[in-house]
């Protein structure tokens, strides 16, 4: 690939995402880069030129020119940045409408409950995937709760906090959304690449905030359908505990699946 | 006071516009939790309205006669005379500060700290006010022991002083 094309095709360092939103994010990174790299280079270049060309050399007796203003120049460097930010805003507004759009008819709807310090994913039939990380060993990935979802379909996530502010963050989704008590937050993701993606809480929530991790298992629609068919209604899959326990829907609604965790949700 | 009042009233005007725009947009598209932002903007421009009106009144009071510091061609003689009372040292600020710190401790550890804090604070208020007790017709250069405090300092520009 031609180097220039290659450079322009990058996101100026940002990783690619795996959702349908990736296209909008990438567009904005590029736009930001196209403006900020030249501007940064020009400003740095002017500063460097000034200190090299106009520095005081020992023994020099030059009287520096005492000009104080230049209205046309000042007007220019006021108006051009205004135009630039207007352009960025326009493109951004369009992207934002797409990224925050919530569908009325998603394929899959999952409730994501965050608590100190783990995650609980509740599916439409009441099936629960719940778990916390290993508070003693952050390298242990075996006991993390898994959020299972299909690829290439609109998955609607309704994020709820059971105690303090948390944030749902999956790096490859290029997306963060807060879990705030009292705020109903719903967003859509449509993942184009099946795979296993790590996720993490992204808002300080207490002592074991660093350990509040999860995994997202994106399966093809067929695989997902098969998996979902195998989850009895109101069953509970606990991370680190083999098998799925049969639960009762009322018990789950009352939070009974929290017993056994070091930190039950506080109201 | 022309520039001063215009600066503050300019900020006031901007904040009013900001509050109105935000109010309208929140009413149309925003969430109810953003009403706190409207409230804060309203208090902000009200604060500047207060300050700006005071400064404007000070400007208008002078009926266009500029103060020495507002005249482009003023000289040091124009500002001659007693400026103000500038005490060199004072124990009362640290006493009052201690009182307020104890008051803060009361918020953390228990009301009994407030007892100490209140005594210190109001004692300091009394001391502070009486320290700057001086009469209008005292001239700088007179015997400092006759002033309100033995270490009071007056600063003036004294181009006309003869003694």
């Amino acid at each position: 690939m031609h180097p220039l094309t290659g450079l322009l095709a990058t996101n100026f360092g940002s990783p690619s995402g795996v959702t349908t939103q990736d296209h909008y994010v990438r567009e904005l990174w590029r736009l930001s880069g196209y403006f900020s790299v030249p501007i940064g280079l020009i400003v740095l270049g002017l500063i460097t030129f000034a200190i090299v060309r106009y520095r005081h050399r020992p023994g020099e007796d030059r009287k520096p020119s005492q000009f104080q203003y230049h209205i046309p120049l000042e007007a220019t460097y006021t108006i051009i940045p205004l135009v630039i930010v207007a352009v960025i805003f326009g493109v951004m507004y369009n992207a934002e409408n797409h990224v925050t759009k919530v569908s009325a008819k998603p394929s899959v709807a999952i409730t994501v409950d965050g608590f100190q310090w783990g995650w609980r994913f509740v599916y439409h039939n009441g099936h629960v995937q719940i778990g916390t990380g290993d508070y003693n060993d952050i390298n242990n990935n075996n006991d993390l709760p898994v959020l299972v979802m299909p690829s290439n379909e609109t998955v609607q996530l309704h994020v709820v906090s059971l105690d303090v502010v948390h944030t749902f963050y999956v790096k490859e989704f290029l997306f963060n959304r807060d879990l705030i008590p009292g705020i109903n937050n719903t967003f859509d993701v449509n993942v184009t690449k099946p795979g296993l993606y790590p996720g993490q809480c992204n808002n300080i929530c207490g002592e074991y905030h660093a350990y509040m991790r999860f995994l997202v298992d994106v399966m093809t629609p067929t695989q997902y359908a098969a998996w979902y068919a195998n989850q009895p209604a109101c069953s509970v899959t606990t991370a680190g505990v083999p098998g799925t326990q049969k639960g009762s829907c009322s018990a789950i609604n009352a939070g009974a699946d929290f017993t056994g965790y070091t930190q039950a949700p506080k109201g | 006071m022309k520039v001063e009042s215009r600066t503050v009233l300019g900020a006031f005007s901007f904040l009013v516009i900001l509050a109105v725009v935000y109010w309208v947009l929140v009413a149309l598209h925003g969430s109810s939790t953003e009403r706190s932002g409207i409230a804060m903007l309203v208090f902000s421009f009200s604060a500047y309205a207060l300050l700006g009106t005071y400064l404007l009144a000070q400007y208008l009071r002078r009926h266009g006669i500029p103060r020495a510091e507002d005249r482009f061609d003023a000289t040091q003689e124009d500002g001659a005379g007693v400026i103000d009372y500038f005490p060199a040292t004072s124990i009362w600020p640290v006493a009052m500060g201690l009182g307020m710190v104890f008051g803060a401790c009361a918020l953390v550890w228990g009301l009994w700290y407030l007892a100490i804090g209140v005594v210190l604070f109001f004692g300091a208020v009394f001391g502070w006010v009486t320290e700057s007790d001086y009469t209008e017709d005292v001239l700088p250069g007179s015997d400092p022991d006759e002033l309100g405090s033995s270490h009071g300092d007056y600063a003036s520009t004294g181009a006309h002083q003869d003694h």
């Binding site: 904005l28 900020s36 940064g40 | 004072s90 918020l107």
Partner: protein, 558 residues
Amino acid sequence: MTILEERPQLPFEAHEPSLMEIVPGPRPRGIVKFVTSTDHKQIGLNYLFTALTGFLLAGLMALVMRTQLIVPNNHFVTENVYNEMFTIHGTIMLFVFAGPFAFAGFGNYMIPLMIGAPDMAFPRFNNLSYWLYLGGFSLLLAGFLTNNGAAQFGWFGYAPLTEAIHSPGPGADLWIVGIGLTGLSGIFTAVNIITTVFTLRAPGMVMFRMPIFVWNILVTMFLILLAFPVLTAAMALLWIDRHLGGGFYDASKGGQPILWQNLFWFFGHPEVYIIAVPYFGVATEIISTMSRKPVFGYKGMIAATLSIGALSMGVWAHHMYTTGAVLLPFFAAMSLLIAVPTGIKFFNWIGTMWRGTIVLNTAMLFCLGFLAIFLFGGITGVILAQPVLDFQVHNTYFVVAHFHYVLIGAVMAGFGGLYYWLPKMTGRKLSEKWGKLGFALLFIGFNLTFFPQHDLGLRGMPRRIETYNAGMGWNFLNELSSIGAYITALGVLVNVWNIFTSWRNGEIAGDNPWDGQTLEWACSSPPPDHNFEALPPIRSERPVWDANHPDMLTKVGH
């Protein structure tokens, strides 16, 4: 002959009668002076020392954090201690160091000098401000001595984590009152400085002849008056929640946790401009003096600063883009707009240097460091202003990198201010040799610490995590960043060493070692009581330059 080496002969000194009549009184020394003096110069020095102490303490906490993060799954400190570290590091750096160092340290010392006033309008009130500040700082630190430790919820303390049930113990309350006291101190300083600037200027010192530094501090004070009362209110509500059974931030009692975020950030965003704007002023003074030119676009600078101050009141929710509860387009537009006046200032600084005679001493080097670093931080700010991009990097190390670039960029200008103004305050210059070494170490160390953090954020590393999984691809960058932190610490130590040794042994500075242009260079170093024995005629924004260089008079305003 180089003008800078010679002590300029001010034409208005010596034979003219002294313009100040001072009633002599007993002059205190030592600890009594420190405690009771109402002289703005002493109080300014008090603030500078205390702020620098805070800087060193918070810097130590940063080193603890970087040591904990140098390898994955590290156990250098426990989770709670780490959370205390980043909370108190942020709180001290912002409330105790960065803001007060500039507006209360340099501001208190320099503003009366720059406008030709004998002192601040309310000298005892000024002293009170300092004690409230020191008291607040001490209470913040006292949290470490309590059983549950100091506050552990981050410097912005989101409810409901700060409620009594999730953060028991007095550490959180000490955080609340510590910030409350330093906030009160700031408000009192603002009242004092605004009154001084509006009523105590010397004859001929009209508003548009004041140095840019004074204008910047004035705008900062306006922001303080609007922002800090909101913070105090937010803290009061939190205290009521914690101690009186209130439910302002408790969803189970009908309150709204997000109310805290709205209140806090309405304060929090102006706060970062309260921090940055004074340093812009310091940089302007140094750049214009060291280039031996007037400020380019003086009125444009003032307009830009006023715009930045005004706009900063309308951008607070860009810290809340991911809450899903704020008007994204409004805040995006305002946040993008604020880049424009900042850009204007940059071009004006370049215009000030253009065709000047630039002396590249340590003060100027620090300002150049400020320009380079703040430029980069400003650009990442434009990226973060866009909600869609913020959705990706919110609360990751990308944000940490951004704000350290803008904050430490500003602090670089502050260090330049030390090299520029300490000779006026102490009568002795700092060592250029040690200064340049300190600058180099700081610049290299800082970039090594924080540049990799941009990539760390893009790779998904969240902030405020005490450790991380070894397989995330974050290991090498964390190592680099931690090594950079140690180099930065070395740079700080070199500068502190320089300050200590030069205080008594530095080269004598004289009245005007840099051929400065503004009024503070018209008096002796250090200045006498009530500042001025004589004042030059004030016919432009550069009265001392006009007096010293009648062949290069300032045209505008003359």
